[in-house]
């Protein structure tokens, strides 16, 4: 295939956000047509959608969120692999982002061929409906609570996070455990957080789940409550990409936590491990991801602390540093890990 003359001109060197639209079926143009609401004008959701709340939410510059799922009648989620649930064709998920008023609602729908439709809807000013966002996303769609711009991501960016497993985040064994972490950052308690593994299995919406996970709901095995919250935060905010598999497997960095096991990969692949990120004039040697006792010498924190696009973590979806998370993880590195280093390692 040769490039045509007219294809040359759009080469834009400064196109940091340039993306190719993802091939997809035709999505509906308005949120009201997706079936989430019985009456969108009054924001009354349909009776057959199920609200849920993961115990470890993703930080999105302070946006408040609500989430719903609908499975086709008579279908269920295959949870045979507790860390890779398989959703039935026709599954619909919605996630609403708000800063006092609704800004966007993201929508996933599983197609017949097993791929997912991924689109976002931007709410009208009068909050009576939301319109589909172009594939390239929408910059400056709102202001976050910190006054920084809030962008609705492109569909390419959607795929960056939702490419792992069956592409659903936040609806999993660990995230819906009844043994919720009381120290989880940014978590909210509502009726939605009452949905858990047991209720899903009881309603026949989840099948194949190991009985052990019902008897003993999954919980991150950590040395202390603070470490549990740290590992949960890293799981939700970093572990989607840094899962130890997929495109980033070569980094040997796993920040996700497998449910139903003593998975301390987030510690094993960071503490005293060489960092590939080596900023100029870094005053510490060796350069490691996490240096027990020294937050300032830990590149993991350095990348969480910046919003310079070429260095920030996460690389998308945020303009605002999560200061609560920084404080939590600083304390963990400075206090908990320093103690851990001085003690013999025991199986938890």
């Amino acid at each position: 295939m040769q490039l045509r003359v007219r294809d040359r001109w759009p080469i834009v060197l400064l196109a940091l956000a340039a993306c190719e639209p993802v091939a997809m079926l035709e999505p509906v143009q308005r949120l009201s047509e997706t079936g989430l609401y019985a009456d969108i004008a009054t924001h009354r959701v349909a009776s057959d959608v199920i609200a849920f709340e993961p115990q470890y939410p993703l930080w999105s510059d302070g946006a408040s969120k609500r989430r719903w799922i609908r499975l086709p009648a008579g279908s269920s989620i295959d949870a045979s692999d507790p860390n890779a649930w398989i959703f039935p064709v026709g599954t619909q998920l919605w996630k609403e982002f708000a800063f006092e008023t609704r800004v966007e609602t993201r929508y996933l729908e599983k197609r017949e061929d097993g791929t997912w439709l991924r689109v976002s809807y931007a709410w009208d000013a009068d909050q009576r409906d939301a319109r589909i966002v172009p594939a390239s996303g929408l910059c400056n769609a709102a202001q976050s609570t910190s006054g920084l711009p809030y962008d609705i991501p492109s569909r390419t960016d959607c795929a960056s996070c939702h490419a792992q497993g069956d592409g659903v985040l936040g609806f999993s064994s660990l995230q819906l455990s009844a043994d919720r972490d009381p120290l989880a950052l940014h978590a909210t308690r509502s009726a939605a957080s009452e949905l858990n593994l047991a209720t899903l299995v009881k309603r026949g919406l989840v099948v194949g789940l190991q009985s052990e996970l019902l008897q003993t709901p999954p919980r991150i095995q950590a040395a202390n409550p603070r470490e549990r919250a740290v590992l949960g935060y890293l799981h939700a905010n970093c572990g989607t990409c840094h899962s130890g598999s997929g495109l980033l497997s070569g980094l040997d960095l796993k920040l996700s936590v497998n449910a139903g096991s003593s998975d301390l990969s987030a510690i094993d692949t960071t503490v005293d491990r060489p960092s590939r990120y080596r900023p100029a004039d870094w005053p510490h040697d060796p350069i490691v991801r996490v240096q027990p006792g020294s937050p300032a010498a830990s590149t993991l924190l350095a990348r969480m602390s910046t919003r310079f696009p070429a260095a920030q973590m996460p690389p998308i979806g945020t303009h605002c540093v999560d200061v609560e998370a920084l404080a939590l993880i600083e304390s963990w590195i400075r206090d908990d890990l320093a103690v851990r280093e001085s003690e013999p390692r025991t199986e938890l």
């Binding site: 295939m1 040769q2 490039l3 003359v5 294809d7 040359r8 759009p10 080469i11 834009v12 060197l13 400064l14 196109a15 940091l16 956000a17 340039a18 993306c19 190719e20 390419t156 960056s160 490419a163 990409c241 997929g246 495109l247 980033l248 070569g250 980094l251 990120y277 080596r278 900023p279 100029a280 910046t306 310079f308 696009p309 070429a310 260095a311 920030q312 690389p315």
Partner: protein, 185 residues
């Protein structure tokens, strides 16, 4: 070190011009895959930025001893010139490997197959995804200007596989390219 001011369009035009000459021919085996990759890498001017330039007897030329190894690790640069407001947008070091603009300062990557400093641990999927999405490793931070990845994104998977095969076949050069620098303001 002297610096040259470029128009951003010059590189884009060069890449686009090269791309029009690329015939679409099937690749039958590993050897021809590598040869196809060499052809594409050379025709699409990868070396113009990913090989440091130095002054040769005939004037500026790529330093063959550092082929495709990116911005030299040990090279100390003064701060990039402040171009102020106006039509001039970017400046570039004489090596053609360090670029300054509104995005900060970017340094061209080491494309040789060194495990620690190059693309030795990259998979073919990483390479293709990076050039399709403009994201490091295909999922990470944005690949900064002036890398014209939107042009490369238009290549076929087969062409991108060929380019990767060629790059992986070249000698590994250990050269840890600096991290990008943030804009002054």
């Amino acid at each position: 070190m002297s610096k040259v001011i470029f128009s951003s369009l010059s590189l884009a035009a060069l890449v686009a011009f090269g791309a029009t000459w690329l015939p679409d021919k099937p690749v039958s085996n590993r050897s021809s895959l590598v040869e196809r990759g060499r052809y594409l890498v050379e025709a699409m001017a990868c070396s113009d930025c990913h090989t440091p330039w130095h002054m040769g007897p005939q004037g500026p030329e790529p330093d063959a001893s550092r082929g495709l190894s990116g911005h030299p690790e040990g090279m100390k640069l003064p701060a990039a010139p402040d171009l102020g407001a106006g039509p001039w947008l970017m400046s570039v070091a004489a090596t053609n490997t360090a670029w300054s603009g509104p995005w900060g300062v970017s340094f061209t990557a080491n494309l040789t197959p060194d495990d620690e400093t190059g693309i030795g641990k990259w998979t073919e999927d990483n390479f293709i995804a990076a050039l399709r999405t403009g994201k490091h490793l295909g999922v990470g931070r944005p690949i900064l200007p002036p890398m014209p990845w939107p042009a490369f994104a238009k290549l076929t998977d087969e062409d991108l596989r060929a380019m990767f095969a060629y790059l992986k076949s070249e000698p590994a050069i250990k050269n840890r390219v600096p991290e990008p620098l943030a804009p002054r303001n």
